[in-house]
């Protein structure tokens, strides 16, 4: 499944980035890489974007971008 399908409170492991180029690079630069454990914290008050915790720090990204992150829920 992909990251955008995760519900708040859910934890998962990142399996693969489906986007190359700018988005993929940006996700990697911000610390989203395969093997990482991720927890979905919450959605924004209007549902989008979403907030994630990645081992001690917090990132927000839009659902349309989260679609490009393949995850495996735990």
């Amino acid at each position: 499944m992909t990251l955008n399908e995760m519900k708040p409170g859910g934890a998962c492991r990142i399996r693969r980035l489906l986007a190359g180029n700018k988005l993929g690079q940006r996700l990697l630069d911000m610390g989203i890489y395969p093997g990482l454990q991720v927890r979905v914290i919450r959605n924004a008050p209007l549902e989008d974007p979403m907030e994630l915790e990645l081992g001690g720090y917090f990132i927000s990204l839009r659902h349309e971008e989260a679609r490009f992150v393949e995850v495996e829920p735990r």
């Binding site: 924004a44 209007l46 720090y57 971008e65």
Partner: protein, 824 residues
Amino acid sequence: MRTSRKRLVALVGQPNCGKSTLFNALTGASQHVANYPGVTVDKMTGWYKHDGARVKVVDLPGTYSLTSFSPEERVSRDFILHERPSAVVNVADASNLIRCLYLTFQLIEMNIPLILNLNMMDVAEKRGIKIDAGRLADRLGIRVFPTSMKSGRGKAALVEAIAALSGEVEPAKGARIDYGKMEPFLRKIREKLTSETTLGENYPVRWLAIKLMEGDAEAQRLVEENHPAPAVFLESVAQNWAVFTAHSDEMPEIHIANRRYQTAGEIAASSIEPPSMAARPLSDTIDRFVCHRVLGPAILIGVIWLLYYLSIVQGYRLTGLTWPLLAGLRDLVEGAAPAPGFIDIPLMRSFALWFVDSINALLNYIPIFFILFSCIAILEDSGYMPRMAFIMDRVFNRFGLHGQSTLPMVLGGIYVGGCAVPGVMACKGIPDERSRLATILVIPLLNCLAKVPLYVLLINLYFAAHAAWAMFFISTISLLLVLPIAKILTLTVLKDKETAPFVMEMPPYHLPTLRGVLGPAVERVWLFLRKISTIVAAVAVVLFALLQFPGLSSERTDHYRNQKEAALESFFKGIRGTPYAQDLQDEERIMDLILYGDAYRNARMKASGQGAMESLAEEFKRRDPLYFQIVQPGGDRDARQVNRAFKELHQTRRELLQTMRKERIDNSLLGWLGKRLEPFTRAAGFNWRINVALLSALAAKESSVATLGALYEQEESGETLEQRMAREEGELTSLHALALMLFMVLYPPCLAAGIAVKIQAGALKWMLFSMIYPMALGLGVASLVYSGGKTLRLSGLEAMFAFYGLALAFTVLMGLFKNKTHYE
């Protein structure tokens, strides 16, 4: 030779890693901000003394990586590559090491004299993280210094290390990342680079090879400039790229980044003891309220209200205190300028005063800006800014804007009373170029304070019975225009601009420090003033000329001379027979008296309290007892007679000056232009006077009302501008007024805002565009409302509701469209 080079230290690090704290700790008060040429990225430089040598420190913009995607990354990378600092300090957040090492590896590959500074050790220790700095240094092959800059721990050792590194001829090379299955490809590119080009003399070849496999545009440009046959070479790179992609599951750039993270993970695992238990930081607890479904937006509104209240409301109150200073400056210039004649005002004098007034109008904003910039710095420093973007992104994204457009739009005046200048200036941080430009371009359409006087004038005149509705209309309509316009801009002119994914860090909350708030606020105000003052001055000159020339014909001048003579004649007649007549025989003396009278009146207006009045009277009596007797006749009958004649003369002179001024404007180039524009503005219902008023508002919107004041002359004293306009423009209706107000909503940015657009958008063409498109749009909307309303025989109020409905429907419609984003 490295030793003979001047000492230059560059600080590199990811955002929120404590880089500015280190910079401040190193440089103390000796710092300054500038912009990197051509990009809107701050350049902080400072210096310190060590062992008698001056060390220059450059704080590079915070970046997560060193690709060439964002201006920050390009600036940082170019600086390191081309300025060749004698030491580069990589500042890392000790509590977040893996991600920081990702950047460290990119720096190591650039083959530069590098030190890793583990900052914020106190935070890491508090969270139970133990770092073996020695082991880390061994694994990385570079020196590692743990510090905690808030308390100054480790600073001395770091400074020594920087000095030592700057003196080294051949600094340590650092560990090498094994890119696994990509290594053969890298080797091939390296060999070709070394044998076919001389790039190896100036750039690390392995780094260049990696960049080429990443598909980095700047690296390709370097090859194009330095290779005899770049096309063939780049083709071979592309082949390598394709072969790698075909044979592995990953895109090369993803593979490279992945390897960096894996190596970072391995190194971290060997030298870090992770926290014994996952601490739930305080920030997360705060976010449960701040980003809450209901509380979040409520808090956001509260913060916006507070921002408004502090900067706009209290800022304006503060200008009440600073204004006397500026008025004093004006008085000073007035005193130094050539004295006015009875009706001949020396050109130098009117120019000097016009100039001071223009500059003062700008300086008057300083208290507001200062408070505003301080508030922004607090929001930035505390970490609330990204939360604001998080909450609002969904709404703004629909219209091609960005979550981070929230603050700029608030400052620009989402309701009535913002200011486009700080709004545009606050667009700096928006990473997505398309959204940033869209935000910059629409902010001037919001309701800034300077638009308000005209609204108030017209509402009082034409919508007095429905003032509340009209005010609500005007304060909300701008948002209904801005959102769809932003959308249209992003779908058209900005279509091809780069967009960036919205991947944003939500940093932990910090208590803002006094230094972290006041420093940037002062710097920004200063930067703004320096950049803006020259241009405002230049345009003030141009506008002055446009309003002044060609001036009055000699016939008309003669006409006014005659009127003056007549006035003087009647004054002489009025004072004949009094003992004062002898002293007031020539024009020069009378002019003297007029200036004396004005000075006394002005001084009286400023003085308050019985005692002050009395001492003022004493002072003026001492200055000239005779004049004082005339100005303040008391019981003396003769003096009262002269006083009456003098008052009449004074009044006549004022009227003459005003009439002349009006005629001069009518005849001026700007007046000519206003008449010329009449055919184009007829559909909108504007006559040439309104055109002139609108044109003069180009420099500053406040002028619209002032110019109208000059054009609609006063016939009886005490008549308000409303009454005058109503009398002289009998044919104007509420429909005209509505069209005029809507034109004002869409009015082009004032000069200061225009400059801000140039600074933030980075090009003159955007400034010109931001001036022209609202003008066209405004004329279109005004024409639609006026001509449409007239055809349908709508009253101003009916047209107002009709237009509001249209705008609302259009906004909703535009919001339904989704902007397409392509991610491959």
